[in-house]
Symmetry: C2
């Protein structure tokens, strides 16, 4: 048996591996980007129209595509429904864009750190990573010109960072000048707790091709596996053909459910945001009481994560720290897999604040604090 | 902008393009493998357990994996639930297997003709096709040794052919001897109208690695986008990681629905099969009354299609015939896209018999007959 060349770069997602253990009774999880179960919409009686059981359009249900285009206009991104491709979750968009643009050795620019499952897919297809910082986007001009620039400008995963207006405009301008494709991943933008700039970077693009994607997992329900992308018109046919080849079309029941939830126009999302803001604040307070001697962090204006950098000379191997904390029933994400490079990585932790209850937060963070202090002895 | 090398081989699926037009009012469609809407299970009141809305396991829901493993044992394929990977439709299995095994130039053996969307995906990843006939499997020993042998042994798409026991055993033996991976695609096996051998070829494999996949689209509902694969233990971790990278996991609502339908153990599937058998017989009769001067065919023992070969010297360009028939509101699939090669292809039509009503069948086939006779003038 001869495996493909790309399997030499195939690896499990560390986050999916950790998600396996967090269902264990008593586990306090700061690991996943799991929305709070209390945030899920209630689906009490679902009547399934029989036509939804038949094969559907690759691009998605027309009414949902129109609603998405309408909502994007409100974000500052003017697109037509014909540019909307419904996805089986936004992870699928990463797969499709990688297929479209990445061969072995293709230079791909990513923030460092960035979403680990994007690194996983880009790497599988052979990406040669170029990294950049939101504070120094201009540096991209000095690198090997990337084919693709991947960005999470709003409440970035894992750092929680949100690009200001000037950074957004600079990224669009640099992309235009380099002539590469901008791929903007925006799953968290509706989970906003403090005012900040959220206009899509793609709306500032003048010439380049671009893909913007988002997800219904964070605002509605991950189990429905639904997201979407919109893109410049030149890319749409190819991304749509790649979607055909990947799974024909997305689940029609989920599309119908999400559309009806979008049309409800109730206060559910505002309430979810209020409850997450309170959780963020409680988490921040608990952090200050437990981990401030050992770590630094910024308070995120939105999203689901705190990103902690361990102060020198505390624990450098966060993988070992995870092994110890799992024994104490506390799960978190070590920072290493979020970096495109393997050397010179600062010791970091990504802590999700939306899933655990307030008493669990305090308990879990106390345990982490204790383990770090022991490691330092 | 620099697209990936594989996009040079990217093309739309002809079937998905035709499916776009068949929703037009008055269209009689023999084109898709669309199950009859009357066959769909009724989902009147669906109560959605909140936990199904959360992220789930990449491999699928445990109870569904166990049920699939149990059902496969009844087909003669002894596997454990740990070898079952739930898919977002069996098209996804083709994508995952292609990622696992196919690089540019990899020899891949396929029946000629075969499922066009498998050709589409294998080709995208760079497959170099080797073709074989069920009647001459031994010929594979004389070709450039393939890395992968793809087969639809039961009610093949498009031909409807079903391998007999000797052919199944030979295919397994040749695969074992060549040391390549066998990929068995089996979506139609439950749509059986006459007795025939249906034991999975994979059950006869002794040494080689293998993947067997099936779908719930044909027996339950395509709109739920659910299928599964099982494979030899060596391949499971990699296929599961590829699934993670593709869409994290499959829709949990669909998994719950399909599991409850599998557990109903009612007569629905038997009734669907009875009604399809009657449709096949009616279609066969209508074919004899209309197209026998122009075409030859075999009556399929199962599945959803008749495969017609045009008699010389009738219409050779079935693409042109389709253009004309669409003007008369009749859709079908031209044979060409089902062939891995582009030259020396016989003129063929694939006609689905499960979707149209009996009066529509007669009318549609009469129109086709008329168009072929005109083309011959």
């Amino acid at each position: 048996m001869q495996l493909s060349e790309r399997t030499s770069r195939l690896s499990p997602s560390p986050i999916r591996e950790i998600l396996r253990v967090i269902d264990q009774p008593g586990m306090i999880s700061f690991a996943g980007g799991l929305p709070s179960a209390a945030s899920f919409p209630s689906i009490d009686e679902l009547s399934v129209r029989p036509e939804l059981l038949q094969y559907g359009a690759t691009e998605g249900e027309s009414a949902l595509r129109e609603q998405v285009a309408h909502d994007l206009a409100g974000r500052g991104l003017d697109v037509s429904a014909e540019q909307v491709l419904i996805l089986s979750g936004s992870q699928q968009g990463i797969d499709l864009v990688a297929k479209l643009l990445i061969d072995s050795g293709t230079p791909v620019a990513v923030e460092s750190p960035t979403y680990l499952a994007a690194l996983q897919v880009f790497s599988l297809f052979g990406a040669d990573f170029v990294s950049y910082q939101p504070s120094n986007i201009e540096a991209l001009r000095q690198t090997h010109t990337p084919n693709l620039v991947y960005t999470i400008p709003t409440f970035q995963n894992p750092t929680g960072h949100c690009y200001n207006l000037a950074q957004r405009q600079t990224l669009a301008k640099v992309t235009d000048e380099l002539g590469c494709v901008l791929f903007e991943d925006d799953p968290y933008r509706d989970l906003v707790y403090d005012h900040c700039e959220r206009t899509p970077v793609c709306s500032f693009i003048e010439r380049s091709s671009w893909v913007y994607q988002s997800s219904f997992s964070k605002t509605y329900a991950p189990g429905l596996r639904l997201g979407y992308l919109v893109c410049s018109e030149d890319l749409f046919p190819m991304l749509s053909w790649l979607k055909q080849a990947a799974d024909l079309h997305s689940n029609r029941l989920s599309q119908s459910l999400v559309l009806s939830m979008l049309n409800r126009r109730d206060n559910r999302l505002a309430e979810v945001v209020d409850s997450y803001r309170a959780k963020r604040d409680a988490f921040c307070q608990a952090l200050e009481q437990t981990l401030s001697p050992y770590c630094t962090w910024s308070v995120p204006d939105g999203g689901l994560f705190f990103w902690l950098t361990l102060k020198d000379p505390y624990v450098q191997d966060t993988g070992l720290l995870l092994q110890e904390s799992l024994k104490r029933n506390v799960a978190f994400m070590p920072g290493d897999p979020f970096f495109p490079q393997s050397e010179g990585i600062p010791a970091c932790l990504r802590l999700n604040f939306s899933h655990a209850s307030e008493p669990e937060m305090k308990q879990g963070l106390s345990i982490l604090s204790e383990l770090i202090s022991i490691a330092n002895d």
